[in-house]
Amino acid sequence: MAKVLEGPGMRLLSKWGMAVPNYVVITEAAQIDNLSEANPWLRECKLVVKAHEALGGRMKLGLVKVGLDLDGARAAAKEMIGKAVAEVTISQVIISEMVEHDEEYYLAVTSTRDGAEILLTSMGGIEVEANWEKVKKLAVPLGADPDMQALTDLAKDAGFDEALLPRVASFANKLFKCYDQEDGSYLEINPLVRRSSNGELTALDAVTMVDGDARFRHPDWNFNFASEFGRPYSDNEKVIMDIDSKVKGSVKFIEIPGGDTALLPAGGGASVYYSDAVLAMGGTLANYAEYSGDPPDWAVEALTEKVCALKGIKRIIVGGAIANFTNVKKTFSGIIKGFRKAKADGKLEDVSIWVRRGGPFEKEGLAAMKVLEGEGFDIHVYDRYTPLTDIVDYAIVGGGK
């Protein structure tokens, strides 16, 4: 599942015949002047200016301004672009027309194991969460198209006026097509509105999630995926994502500022058990990280450097289950290089390191890690005979060797 920002998301909806508000994305306030010559709506309509970043709570942060004229929009764009919010610098804004409307609806398509589900309610906007039981659902089996009659019945069920049914059904059908043809994971339009001027159904705001793994068959996906957790990716995260996209196997890294325990575990499954264990023992996570699929040692080294650079950490958990084919000696050599480099840079003062691992070349890998004991590291190395997450108990509560 990969998130697409508002601008490219709107373009996907528009590609499949759904009406969206007029919009432009700009990276400099001055661009608005040339654009307004080419786009009369910028001069004629009331405008909305929003920071075009994967930031949660933009309204509260003052990054959404509504009801502006062209000058107001230019001023708002000027104020937002370059502004640093929560360690992130706003680099672009989206300016769209304010669509005058009467009612707000909710329409979504979500992926299910057997196909997809279309969700619809005439009570959209901010009320939808509170009225979740009123959302009506229609299951569409994989490979099938939704039946127009079934969509009309769904709309009726969802509380739409008789006169609107064909248009709502047709709009839902278009959203389904978009979902199906664009390898969607989750498409949500909230609110879906009716323009006061001409009654046309318009997608005012949308959440667009597509299947990132399907990128190879969508040459027109010329956008980057955005983060899904309420803030854009940090520079450190982007460095690791970039490495991840280039290597065999994978390396993952997400920062969680303020935590006391850093994670450097192997394996998607084990990493979550390690995260659980840290919290269960009363620690706080400084990051999420994971490497798997026998990545090259230099990629693991880069990941290690980022982990060592996390601020305020007291301990690093280098955990892992018994690998199937990841070479423990080779991946550990990357971690060891990273540790040595961090120490030479004056990092890792008062940080304890806890290691547990098994798999191909485990003896050699663990022995190499043990060498760090003699180099002034506060490191504790365990093998397969210590249960998976016991090192977390030792690290946080004590009781290890």
Binding site: D213, E228, G268, G269, A270, V272, P387
Partner: protein, 603 residues
């Protein structure tokens, strides 16, 4: 006993190098369990075979261009493993599903689009087949069959007692299936079958698929299930387990409690490890559903060992395992390298190298790492010194060697070596062949006199001979003095290269007994005949002996230097587009018999 894969399993592996490494791992398992190895692969190079080590022998695994071609030759193939890149994995899997005898397809490929995975599950169900994965590490049935690299290294297979049977295991995570097998072997009796279903959002087969099969496998008494947040597969497993009284016991753990304290929407673990949009699929919900259904659910992963131990002791107490045969595992034959390293055997070396050692990260020239020599500014003469005479030459010696190489590098197109190289190049032969042909010309009359000259100059100096005694000795016992005499150069038309080299060597002040001896000889010989000068071979020889290079190495200086010229001539001909040449007839002096009648053959 086991589920979905057993001793009857015959596998076709779809995919290239990764598939071949899987085949190697599978052969190791067959060796451990003392069962035949029977795998067929079809990476791109159809018609060839892959040699896979099986115990101390090699098994040839045939390669086909399609699943249909493989199953036609081997109709007993009933399982396919998919090791194909995500963009072609769908088509490859369909090919396997369409083969009538293939009942199980397991896919290791990661990053397969969800839509494709969902479609494949439906296609498999339509055909009443099992599609396992994507992103599955594989399936292993203890003592019977291994599909893929699940189980890891051979040492681990032995430690996990995978040659014999015990518990059933299903996990989403590949790394954790190995961990559970290890726990089962420590705290219980090992496993029956372990399946990695893969951590994708929509795995082809879910926990219930395999729980049902385990329920029917009487050997499996307990199933360990490792789940994680996201989706509803654990909830479905709970529903299935709680529906009615089940024969098997279920021990389950679920991960993802951390999600409660992490930023909403943060991605971690596997692709499928994501919370529902309205809070469904949380670790807590799953654990509670499983508990309510009667499963044993330890709070943490660490609680699994004791839970498994307790379950095992209960089975032991019931007497269900009495009379079970104990089978000893087999060791993997060690390679010659390993046995030597462990000090178990002595192998007498066949060859010896005292100049260069390439067993480490990079070659060591007489002990010095090549990169360090480069970094510290050493030059080609130093490398010559290290590899030819096992010493680091002094700066003066290095300069002399450099000058020798420069002055011998080439002597135009007409000399034997260059001419032959050029003829070769014009005949269209390769650089290595043409230069080697030129090299063959080096001998007593062309460039090959250096060693001979060095040998006799040192003989004279060593025996403190006077020039006259030396010349008499040579005339009586050897013949012309090597290194003396030139075809065109003479006292009045001296070889500038020789003069300049001698002048430089003299200017350095190093002791030059051999050069002095050679020059004294020249003085005598030129008095007899103008062209009997100390030629370039002789000069080089005398100087190199003065530099203490062994006599046997001396021709090397000419061979090395002249190679530069010969390569140049070959490239030159190529660049200039030279055509095949032959000698003009007027350049041959035909002196053979005039044309005459052939006499009848005597019978």
């Amino acid at each position: 006993m086991s589920i979905i894969t057993n001793k009857e399993t015959r596998v076709v592996i779809q995919g290239g190098p990764a598939g071949v490494s899987a085949a190697k791992r599978m052969a190791e398992f067959c060796h451990l369990s003392q069962i035949p190895f029977n795998v067929f692969v079809f990476p791109p190079s159809a018609g060839k075979t892959n040699e896979i080590a099986f115990g101390s022998t090699l098994v040839s695994v045939p390669i086909f261009k399609s699943v249909a071609a493989a199953t036609e030759v081997f109709p007993e193939i009933n399982t396919s493993l998919i090791y194909i890149a995500p963009n072609r994995a769908f088509a490859g899997t369909m090919e396997a599903l369409d083969a009538p005898n293939i009942k199980l397809v397991s896919m290791i490929t990661e990053g397969v689009p969800e839509k494709d995975a969902k479609q494949l599950r439906i296609e498999a169900e339509k055909r009443n087949k099992v599609f396992n994965g994507p992103s599955s590490i594989g399936v292993i049935s203890a003592g019977e069959s291994r599909l893929g690299v699940i189980g890891g290294s051979y040492d681990n297979l032995m430690l996990c007692k995978l040659h014999r049977q015990g518990f059933g295991v299903i996990t989403k995570s590949g790394g954790l299936s190995n961990e559970i097998m290890w726990i089962c072997s420590q705290f219980a009796d090992g496993i029956t079958t372990a399946i990695g279903i893969g951590g994708d959002t929509y795995p082809g087969s879910d926990f219930v698929t395999y729980l049902e099969k385990f329920e029917d496998d009487l050997q499996t008494k307990v199933v360990v299930m490792v789940g994680e947040m996201g989706g509803d597969l654990e909830e479905k497993a709970a529903t299935w387990f709680g529906e009615k009284k089940r024969r098997i016991q279920l021990i389950a753990v679920v991960s993802g409690y951390c999600q409660e304290q992490l930023p909403k929407g943060m991605k971690f673990g596997h692709a499928g490890a994501k919370e529902g949009l309205h809070g469904e699929g949380s670790a807590r919900n799953k654990a509670e559903a499983l508990k309510a259904a009667g499963a044993i659910v330890p709070d943490t992963f660490g609680g699994l060992g004791p839970a498994i131990k307790a379950a095992y002791e209960e089975i032991l107490a019931s007497g269900a395992l009495e009379g079970k045969e104990e089978l000893a595992p087999r060791h993997l034959p060690r390679t010659i390298e390993e046995t030597i390293k462990d000090g178990d055997v002595f192998a007498e070396p066949l060859i010896k190298s005292s100049i260069c050692d390439d067993r480490g990260e990079e070659p060591l020239y007489n002990g010095y790492p090549a990169s360090e020599l480069i970094d510290k500014g050493y030059q080609i003469p130093h490398v010559i010194g290290l590899l030819w005479d096992k010493r680091l030459v002094t700066p003066v010696e290095a300069e002399i060697i450099k000058r020798i190489v420069i002055l011998s590098a080439d002597h135009g197109p007409c000399v034997s070596g260059a001419l032959v190289t050029i003829i070769g190049a014009c005949a269209g032969i390769s650089m290595a062949q043409a230069v080697a042909a030129g090299m063959i010309m080096i001998g007593p009359r062309f460039g090959g006199a250096v060693t001979g000259a060095g040998k006799w100059f040192s003989y004279g100096v060593k025996n403190k001979m006077s020039v006259d005694d030396f010349l008499t000795h040579m005339k009586k016992n050897v013949g012309p003095v090597p290194g003396i005499g030139h075809r065109v150069k003479s006292l009045r038309n001296p070889d500038k290269r020789v003069k300049s080299l001698i002048a430089y060597v003299k200017s350095t002040g190093i002791p030059t007994p051999h050069l002095d001896f050679a020059l004294a000889i020249e003085e005598k010989t030129t008095a007899k005949k103008d062209t009997l000068i100390l030629n370039v071979d002789g000069t080089m020889a005398a100087i190199l002996v003065d530099l203490r290079f062994p006599v046997d190495a001396l021709n090397g200086f000419f061979i090395l230097s002249r190679t530069i010229g010969m390569i140049g001539h070959w490239i030159d001909q190529k660049r200039e587009g030279s055509r095949l040449i032959r000698l003009f007839k007027y350049l041959a002096n035909y002196t053979s018999h005039k044309k005459r009648a052939v006499p009848p053959l005597d019978s």
